[in-house]
Every structure is written in C-alpha cells, then in structure tokens.
Symmetry: C2
Subunit: 473 residues, 2 copies
C-alpha cells in the first residue's frame, strides 16, 4: 500500500507554487455568486465575491443562504416564517451553525444535514457532491427536534418550518424538510471516538437535545449578528475572499486558534510567510482566524482574545499589511482529528489554500482518564490524508518554545534542548491567572496585560503554592 | 446538496449492463497475477486468475501473499522465520485475518495495517491507493502486541518478525514493520458507533489484546488450512475468479450470510438472477458465500450451516449450474453499516459486481439496551454511498416472508400484509431448537433436518412454554 508514501508526498507540493499561483494574481474579476434551487433568490445578490487567484470553494461555488437586502425578499420571508405553523427554536450552538451554514463555510451544504449527509459525515468524514466527487465534511451539522415537535410536524405533513431565536423571532425558513432519528450514542462515538461523559460539546448541545434531527434547505432572513462589539470581525467567506483579492494575495495561509496568541504563534506565522515567499509566491496573506463560537468554560472568552489579538497587531508583532484578523463563527467540538478537518475545510471556502496544523489540533484531555483524548500526531496525519482536502496544502506546525539563551520565542532546536522552555496554553493561563509575568518576549506587553486584566475580573490571585504547581506542571 | 440524488441514482445502473458486460464474456485470457515489492516472489506464480469479463480487483491487481510452491521459496521462508528472534503468536481471529490478507480479499492491503491505513479505515472507511484513488476499507485489519513484545522488538531495532501459530510453528514473516499505539476505546467507538460492553468481536479479539499494533508486509509460508472437512469450500478470490471465468459468467452476484439459508433467501437469489437476465446479462452466476470466521456463540456453527447449504443445492432449491457455494474466511464484527462495506468490498476482489444487501446487514441487538444496535436501513444507505464502492452494483434485498395464502415463501405484498408471516433468524433457531416444524415450504426438508440435528446434539428440547414465547416473539 502506498498510503504512507501518499502522506509523505503531500508536503513536497510546497516546493513550488501550484498551477499559476506563483504569478501575481490577475486583476480580480468580479464574479456574481448565484445559488441554485429554491434558495436562489437569497444568493443571487450580484457582486459579492471576487475570484482573483483564490482556491475554488468546495462544490465550485460559494453557498450563501441569506436573503438579499434589496427586492423585498427579507420582508416576504419574514411574513412567510411568521405564518408557518411549526417553529423550531434555536439554541446558542444551533444559531452558530445557522450562521456557519448561511455564509457558506460548509459549502456545498445548503442547510442542516439530511440523513444521507449525516451518515456520510459520520462514516466517511466526506459527502459526495452533485458531480460524484467527495467534499470533506467531518462533523455533523444538524438540528435536533424533540418527539412532540416531530409528531406535530409529521402529523401535519408540513414541508417547511420556521426557525426562531430565543425570543421567538423568526430567523430562517427550513424547506423540503426531512426528519430522522438522532442516535446520540452513535453520533458521539463516531465523532469523538469515545462516549465518555464530560465532552464539552456533547454536554452543551447533544445530551439534552431531542431524539430526532431535522434537515432541509435553509433560507435565512438576514445576516446573523451578535451585537457584542465584535461583529466587525465576523467576515463571511465572501467578504474574506473579497479582501484577499483586494490585497492581490496569491496565497492565503490560515491559522486557527482558540487560545490567546503569543510570540511563538507569531514566529510561526511570520516564518510561514517567509517560506511562502521563498517558494515564489509574491504576496502571501495570513488569515489569523480565532474561533468565535462555543468553547469550554475554562477557555479564554472570545472578547478577551480579540482584544489581545488587537494588541498583537498594534504592537507590530504581526504585520497588518499581510494579516487579516477575523472571527471563525463555528462552535468548537474538541473532536481532535475529526474536527481539524472541519477547521481546514471551512477555510478553503474562505479562500485559504494553505493551512497551518499543530500538535494535537482541536484536542483536549480525556474527560475521565489521565491522558490526552487523541494522539498528538493523529490530527496532522488524518488531515493530510482526508478525502476532499487534496487541494489544500497542509503546513505542519514547527514547534516553538521559549529560548532562554536568546530570551525570545524560537523554533525548538533538539541539539540544545536544555535551553528551551515550553509554555503550554494551560501554563500560560496559570501564569496570567496568578499575575506572574511570563519570560521576556513570550507575549507582547499589551497582549499580556489584556489577559491579566481578564483574570483579575474573575477572581483574586490564587495562592503562590498553586502557582508553583502550575509552572512546574 | 446532491447526496440524496446520488443515492437514488445508484440503482438505475441496473437498468442495463454496464460497459461491455452485457455481451457474452470473451474467451477468458490467462493472466499472470504478479505482486509488487518485497513479497513479489510470493505472488509471481504465473497462471492463477483469468480476467474474463470480471470486475477488476481493488487496486487493479489481486494481492496474493502466499509463497509459491515451486522454487523452494516456502522452505527458505520457513528457515528465515525460524531464525528470526521475535515471534508473534496468532490467535484464532488473527489467523483468520492472516488468511483473508494472504488471498487478497483485502486487496490492495499487503499485510496487517500500518498506522496510516488504520487511521484511514477508522476515519474514512477507505484508504488511498498508490494512484491517489480511494479504495474501500471499513474495518481495521490489525495485529496486536503487548508491551513487553513491543519493547523487545523496538530495543532490537528488528525490521521483521515471525508470525507463529498456537503450537509456535512459523506461519508467516511480517516485514518492514511499524509499531503504533492500539487505542482500543477509539477503535471500538469509531468501528461500532458504541463502546457498550458485550460486543462479541470486541470481547473475543480486542479487550484482552495488547496495547500496541504491529503492521507490515506479509509473506505467508503456505496456504491457510483448517482441516475441518470444509477446506474444499474455502476458495480464494483467485480460485473464484477462475471458476466464474470457466463458467463464462458475465455477471456475478454475491450473497453474504451467516445464518442458515431458507427458501426466502433462495427466492431472492433466484429472483435476482431473473432480473439480471432481464437486464440483458446472458449468464449471471450466484456466489453464495457464507461467512466462515469467528461468529458469536448463539449463531449456528459453520459446519452445520455448510451441511445445510449442501442440502439446499442437492434438493434443487438453488440451481448448481449457476451457483458457486464457497466460504468467506473473514471473522464477523457485527458492526452493521461499517462492516457491510467490508463484506461488499471483499467480494469485488473475488469477482462479484453485484451485491445483495438486506435489512440491518451485519447488525445485532444492542448489547446493553433493548433495541437494535443499528437502524435497519443504515447499512443499505451507507453501502450505496461508500467511497471506493462506486463500481459495485448494490441490489437492495426485497423482503420475503411466508405467504400463508400460497403456502410458500414469497415477496412481501403490503396490500395483503395479513397473509404474511415473518420468520426471523432468531425465530427460526427457536423452532429448530424445539424440534417444531416450520410452515411447509419455509426450508427444504433436508436443510431443516440438519438444523434440528444440530440442536439435538446440544441439549434436549426446551419446554413448550419457552417455545410459545419464542414463536410469539
């Protein structure tokens, strides 16, 4: 079998820009993005996305499911939704997925999954497109329904339902619906590779959800907004593509993170740009793309992370000329090798053709055993072999650590390993929690201050013995 | 998304024989099957398999890993194995997998899986071949190692190990070995979609297995034999292909079963042949292919099932002219939609281009809950969407039941459902166990006698109250 060879072969692609991407991007043509089928009206809004030299979205065209502002479509849809007899209320995570679907991060999906899509995601981490080719899709994007709702909808033979927010306001219409069983045990086992209690996403969005799933085609009334002061960072894939084209990017490399950014990350991103320039790209642009949806309770909240990202750019740790900071609206599964594929696939739809992957991506500790849930190398391996991601260049994360000899973050050099200090996300949080300063050059001063202030707002500093434990850990 | 359409589109393939298969098969050319790489010597045995009009094996050529009889290769291999410092002892299920691998049922696999293959099987149910295309491979075919063995092998930096049987006799050499972690929880969750205790294969072959897996390229000393009086039924994929070519088959339809065969099955097989003839095939041949490896304790043993199959042919329930009965050497996972892909894929390698799939294939009751482990329709759906099985025509199983109006097995007619009696495998076993006669025409008399004799050999008849429960169930 040549699978090992296939794995090794992925990275040499980097030796040279692929077909035409080495040339400066041509003046970006304005391309209308049109939907197909029933939701066409929602997507046919003319100029939204420029082609430039960017990677094609999955399925060939970017799905957009928000009704256009002009032409009265939103008002008509609002009236239609208000008149529908069945309303399904969206929880927090449901709304995040609706947001994800509405902007085409999950292209070519046009709504919450029907059973065939759900089964393909669970078994194959990929769904078959209209032309028979496989598109990566590793996590189920589904909407649960309880038994009473299921019976009521099926009794009325309804084909559409209204989706409403916490205040019962219509948000979208789901059409051509299909209702099928939500086998939670099977979904959890196949997505996480465990059924242990304590998986954050499971507890948030599955355990108490209904025993049925409803799929269909979505038409969303208006763009999803959170009004939390961060909406300006929530760029859609179409907006990101437009921005990359405006900057004449001939390569886009995406960096997903859910933790505060430090100088080790910055070193890696800067070094990646250098490598891409060496390969012949003229203008590689970084998509610095913190995840904005549901995260577990002990992760640093989005608002704090975004402030901290602003400082990193203000203080020149990253070059704003070649960096786009935006929020990825997806909720976090913490499903390791399964989820990292989703993180990568969604960024293709936003125009990224390079994806930086680190150690244990989307991983966490096992909820009931004293070990990591996933092998630290599996994410990278699975990502590089995943069906439907062949077009994406996977950039393995070089390990950065604090170099005590040069007092800065540096790539780990095994020949002088005694000089390096590893500061994990957990350790970083412990330091900030205890108002300890990290070593000089670990994080820019403004970014560190944001973190310390966050922990100040939570509780008084912890005792010094705990601090020592944390640093020793 | 067009996945629903893609699913619906599979069956219309049946409307007409595909490329050239409608024509009578040309006089079969004799084709040498050659291996590649290190085990080439094992496979380069010249004439073994005829091409005929048969479907190509996965990966383009049938893998065969048994050393050739001529040329002294077996003796040399036996000496080599005897001299190797590390020996891994094969359990019953390991030997069955070795058998499966050695004959190319799992083509293009050339040995127990290395980690990249294992991860692809778990996450994608498919592995990528040398040309980048996906080949279906839904169950891990792996060999476990305990920690002491792992340490000893790694300490010696050995690159080959001998595989030995229960009496320490060398059976094969595994070369270019790779040792990696056996995360049992993750393997079980991703393969079965549950981690509930009581899964038969897990208890037989995983729970007490080592925490490491060893993969590599196999070279097997001689064909695996069981000396149980049934070896003549254990035809390899190459032998089956030769047989189909000899019969000038222009279509081969496979029927997998692990239960006694009854007239409902026979009706289905006969009807399938009729449909294939109607489509224009001139000589469709049935591969009646009971599974011969590990099965759970309450399944009917292979020896009894084979005797019963013989009766079915002797009594003319199936036509021996257009039927090949052989044993499929794989062990049974009872992993439903995941496993049915393996059952189908292996039959492609044996030359089958049609696969009959029923309700809840490879399913069983949930080991700890009062429900079936899998949705009865998922197997058929997953199979028809599975990557790497696009070439296989999936024939959905029509439901047969006992027609009390015509006193025979018949296809279920929902317009007169009150006329039909469903006799499940469980019910059939209960009847036989209790020496009850089934309705006339349910099974041929000789076949029924074999079953009753088997239960006689186990224990005296059960009480009549139990019988009534069973029939009512």
């Amino acid at each position: 079998m040549a699978t090992q060879a296939a794995f090794a072969v992925r990275f040499p692609q980097l030796a040279r820009p692929s077909r035409g991407q080495g040339q400066p991007a041509p003046a970006p043509a304005r391309v209308a993005v049109r939907g197909v089928g029933r939701a066409a009206a929602a997507a046919a809004r003319g100029v939204r996305c420029r082609a430039g030299g960017l990677i094609e979205p999955d399925g060939g065209r970017l799905v957009e499911l928000v009704a256009p502002e002009e032409g009265g479509r939103r008002a008509a849809l609002r009236r239609e939704a208000a008149a529908l007899p069945h309303r399904v209320r969206l929880g927090r995570v449901d709304t995040e997925w609706l947001h994800v679907l509405s902007e085409g991060w999950a292209s070519p999906l046009r709504g919450f999954m029907r059973e065939t899509e759900f089964l393909q995601a669970l078994h194959f981490n990929a769904v078959r497109g209209a032309d028979g080719s496989l598109v990566n899709m590793s996590v189920p994007i589904v909407l649960a329904l309880d038994d009473a709702q299921r019976r009521a909808i099926q009794a009325s033979a309804a084909t559409s339902v209204a989706l409403v927010d916490a205040h019962d306001r219509p948000v979208a219409v789901l059409r051509d619906i299909e209702i099928y069983k939500h086998n939670k045990e099977e979904r959890i086992a196949r997505t996480w590779g465990t059924t242990a209690r304590g998986l954050p996403y499971v507890e948030e969005a599955i355990t108490n959800a209904g025993d049925w799933l409803i799929g269909g085609d979505l038409e969303v009334i208006e763009p999803i907004k959170y009004n939390d002061g961060l909406d300006q960072y929530r760029l859609s894939p179409a907006q990101l593509r437009e921005e990359f084209a405006r900057r004449n990017a001939d390569a886009v490399f995406a960096f997903q993170l859910r933790n505060p950014v430090h100088n080790g990350h910055a070193l890696l991103m800067t070094d990646t740009r250098r490598r891409l320039l060496e390969m012949g790209y003229k203008n590689p642009v970084l998509l610095l793309h913190p995840l904005g949806g549901f995260t577990k309770a002990d992760d640093v909240p989005l608002s704090v992370r975004m402030k901290q990202h602003e400082k990193v750019l203000e203080e020149g740790v990253l070059n704003p000329e070649s960096t786009v900071v935006a929020i990825f609206p997806s909720p976090m599964h913490y499903a390791g090798p399964t989820e990292v594929q989703w993180h990568a696939k969604a960024r293709i739809n936003a125009g990224a053709n390079f994806y930086i992957v680190g150690r244990d991506p989307a991983g966490m500790g096992h909820p009931t055993e004293k070990r990591d849930l996933y092998d630290a190398d599996h994410g990278k391996k699975v990502l590089s072999m995943a069906p439907g991601l062949e077009r994406l260049n996977i950039l393995p994360f070089k390990v950065a650590a604090y170099d005590t000899k040069h007092n800065k973050m540096n790539f780990f050099d095994p020949s002088r390993k005694e000089d390096f200090l590893f500061i994990s996300g957990t350790k970083m949080r412990s330091l900030a929690k205890n108002r300890e300063s990290p070593p000089d050059g670990f994080m820019c001063p403004g970014g560190w201050k944001v973190l310390v202030e966050y922990y100040d707002s939570l509780a008084p500093p912890e005792g010094s013995s705990k601090l020592r434990e944390a640093v020793a850990a």
